[in-house]
């Protein structure tokens, strides 16, 4: 396999390009249901950062996402794909609830620490089942963690319906003891911003140190990078797999415990709502780097918060899932992005690529204009009902070529910026 000459550089560029392309594709989907993407994205931005309560809400949403992102990202580094952060989060929250409702007489600092630790342990234990099975019997962790997700979901919905149930209406557990509630950093309107964000960021920094500066981190990375070589080098693979899954699960469990002690204050059975799966896209966008994951989580938190506002404007918030899916797809098959980027570092390359770009743009624009005319309502009415579909086909052609044009333009601009940056940095090197 060819190794890229600029791994660091691509690690940075591929996720950005993927997000841009995903947003463009999503905008075409929004046009298809008859809404304006510009309006949609404005609402999304406003919903995420438009007011101080929106920002607080985004941060609250980001908190567990940092942790699930770290959970999946750490797994990737260690060579396991923890798709079960969802279930580990639920188990973390469930166990933390069982403890937290009984900690009324314990002073807050100790009570919070115990609750969060219990959450971490529960997540770790739940994930370690999958890790142990992989190490001992070779059962693929993707299948086992998915099964564990479903088991956790049904178990928790049973727990809130029968043993823990209080009140009527939505099934819920009793409220946790006041001493176990996370302190609030500030309150904006109806939003309480809890101290969980600090815990998350500390976790990210700790994980960065463990991964980059300790022997354990080195072993984990080695086992993930090339398991056979690592085993030959004296690293116990089965121990490593179980431990990596446990650490990954502990992070997800912590996310669940923080959601419990900082946001809901009671266990609702299904509190995760896709955060475990968000962790996958966050880890990939952040390129499994703890610091990158913080920013990727912020992006995803903003998308989640903003999409709630979009829902009011008639755009289903599932659009966020589609965006996420496209980003994961492109980051996983990063060669698609890499080959579509052109580095114009020489004069001839600039002329050549610009010519090609203009040619593509002109052709696409012509297709768009022609199909715009052909898709006009009533133009094909002489064909009857069939004519309606002919019009629709041209409408789809118009939208797809519009999308291609946008992607071509975006790629050209990004490539140009990168090329400029490279030329500039090279000059600087020559001078010094």
């Amino acid at each position: 396999m060819r190794v890229s000459a600029l791994p660091r550089f691509w690690a940075f560029i591929v996720p950005i390009v993927s997000v841009v392309v995903a947003l463009l594709i999503a905008s075409v989907i929004i046009i298809m249901i008859g809404k304006s993407p510009i309006e949609a994205y404005t609402i999304l931005l406003k919903g995420a950062f438009g007011s101080s309560s929106a920002i607080a809400n985004t941060i609250v949403k980001t908190t567990p996402l940092i942790l699930t992102g770290l959970a999946v990202g750490f797994g990737f580094r260690a060579g396991v794909f923890n798709i079960g952060a969802e279930g580990q989060m639920v188990m973390g929250a469930l166990m933390a609830t069982l403890v937290a409702i009984n900690l009324g007489s314990v002073p807050p600092f100790i009570a919070i620490t115990i609750t969060l630790l219990v959450g971490m342990l529960a997540g770790a234990g739940w994930a370690a089942i999958a890790g142990y099975l992989k190490a001992k019997t070779g059962a693929h962790e993707v299948v086992t963690t998915i099964m564990l997700n479903w088991i956790a979901t049904y178990l928790s919905s049973y727990m809130v319906q029968v043993p823990l149930a209080v009140g009527s209406g939505t099934p819920k557990s009793p409220e946790i003891a006041p001493s176990t509630k996370l302190p609030e950093l500030l309150t904006v309107g109806a939003i309480n911003m809890n101290a969980g964000i600090i815990v998350s960021i500390i976790a990210a920094i700790l994980l960065y140190i463990i991964l980059e500066k300790t022997t354990m981190g080195y072993e984990v990375k080695a086992a993930g990078f090339n398991p056979y070589a690592a085993e030959y080098g004296g690293i116990s693979l089965s121990k490593n797999i179980t431990m990596s899954m446990a650490i990954s699960g502990a992070l997800a469990g912590l996310a669940g415990a923080i959601e419990l002690t900082g946001v809901h204050y009671r266990f609702l059975g299904t509190l995760s709502g896709g955060k475990g799966f968000d962790g996958i896209s966050i880890a990939l966008i952040g390129q499994n780097n703890p610091i990158g994951i913080i920013f990727a989580a912020l992006l995803m938190g903003a998308l989640r918060t903003g999409s709630n506002e979009m829902q009011f404007a008639g755009i289903p918030k599932h659009i966020v899932m589609i965006i996420q899916g496209i980003v994961i797809f492109l980051v996983a098959a990063d060669r698609i992005v890499r080959t579509s980027m052109i580095i114009m570092d020489k004069k001839e390359r600039i002329a050549q690529e610009t010519k090609r770009f203009v040619k593509r743009a002109v052709i696409l624009s012509i297709i768009i204009i022609v199909s715009m005319f052909l898709s006009k309502e009533g133009l094909w009415s002489f064909l009857g009902k069939f004519g309606y579909y002919v019009g629709k086909v041209f409408w789809v052609i118009e939208l797809v070529s519009l999308l291609s044009l946008m992607i071509v333009v975006a790629l050209y601009i990004i490539s140009a910026v990168i090329s400029l940056g490279m030329v500039y940095s090279r000059r600087k090197k020559v001078k010094s």
Partner: protein, 319 residues
């Protein structure tokens, strides 16, 4: 004693066999799809997403045209298109197959959820749209036990069993099948012998798209006649487990699917058993049964099965 009686009485209830068949059918289709893809060396975790999209597409086109069979045809086409994305990213661009598959599941969940409101006017689930009617088998209908169990059967169930044997024949008795298996075991050697590794792999993945979307279509137009968000509910993954348990063999996958389907049917019937009272609140515990069975089976039997040697490994032609 009463509990034991209740537990055992399910086996002599013809309804059990009927429900078990119905529950197994989507798993049979999807696990066959998994076999086709993995035997050529491409892990297809996206089965879950393809199923969901198949269920959705078939309902949408049944809704527009009134014909459930046309809906199934469109579901197959969309399944091919969607699995082509998987093939394109993981065969041509050597993407991480498991991550690409996860992305496709998310996209399928997103698109089906997103389009619910524009097409059906409300999110969540649709009304009854239409389904493929069961056909009654003339000779069997009046036979006491069998008649009740399989006297009336959905044509898709029959198609599922037929495709098991067709797949077995293709994979083990034809040149194409031999090529598929050799590409999955040792792509370099197959390439040296002049087999086009990429084409064979594309074929495997696209076949998995056809079969998995048939499985999905069965969930909607074969069974309930409506579409619910996330209605595939983990069946794509159970199908993967069935494929593993069945040792990547169509007939093994069918038997494993029957086992999982039976465990689902068993849990269902136990909930409605007249011999023991099962409070509604305990229901979630019964829903866990198929997943626990899958987990136990996959971790207990895995040592005895063996995946194709090049399963999940992208193949890059040497230059």
């Amino acid at each position: 004693m009463k509990v034991l009686e209740a537990l055992l009485s399910i086996f002599i209830n013809p309804q059990f066999y009927k429900i078990a068949l119905t529950a197994s059918t989507p798993l049979i289709f999807a696990s066959l799809g998994g076999v086709f893809s993995e035997i050529t060396g491409v892990t297809n975790i996206a089965l879950e997403g393809i199923m969901l999209l198949g269920a959705f597409t078939s309902i949408v086109f049944t809704f527009y045209t009134g014909s459930a069979w046309f809906g199934i045809l469109m579901a197959v086409l969309v399944g091919i298109g969607f699995s082509w994305l998987h093939a394109w990213a993981s065969i041509k661009w050597l993407g991480n197959q498991i991550v690409v598959g996860t992305a496709l599941i998310l996209i399928a969940q997103g698109i089906t959820g997103f389009l619910m409101k524009p097409i059906f006017g409300r999110p969540g689930q649709t009304d009854f749209i239409g389904r493929i009617n069961d056909i009654s088998i003339p000779g069997l209908r009046n036979v006491p036990f069998l008649g009740e169990a399989i006297g009336e059967i959905n044509p898709l169930v029959i198609i599922a069993f037929v495709s098991v044997f067709v797949s077995w024949f293709i994979i083990y008795k034809t040149t194409l099948g031999l090529r598929m298996r050799s590409v999955g075991e040792n792509p370099e050697a197959a390439d040296t012998l002049g087999i086009n590794v990429y084409k064979i792999r594309y074929f495997g993945v696209l076949m998995s798209g056809v079969l998995a979307s048939l499985g999905g279509a069965f969930l909607s137009v074969g069974e309930t006649g409506n579409f619910k968000e996330l209605m595939s509910g983990g069946r794509g993954f159970i199908a993967l487990a069935a494929m593993i348990l069945g040792n990547w063999n169509p007939i093994g996958a069918m038997l494993a699917s029957l086992l999982f389907g039976a465990s689902e049917a068993y849990a269902n019937l136990l909930q409605s058993s007249k011999l023991i009272e099962v409070p509604a609140s305990v229901k979630p515990l019964f829903n866990m049964v198929p997943f626990i069975v899958t987990l136990i089976v996959i971790s207990g039997f895995i040592g005895k099965t063996r995946p194709p040697a090049a399963d999940g490994v992208p193949y890059e032609k040497a230059e």
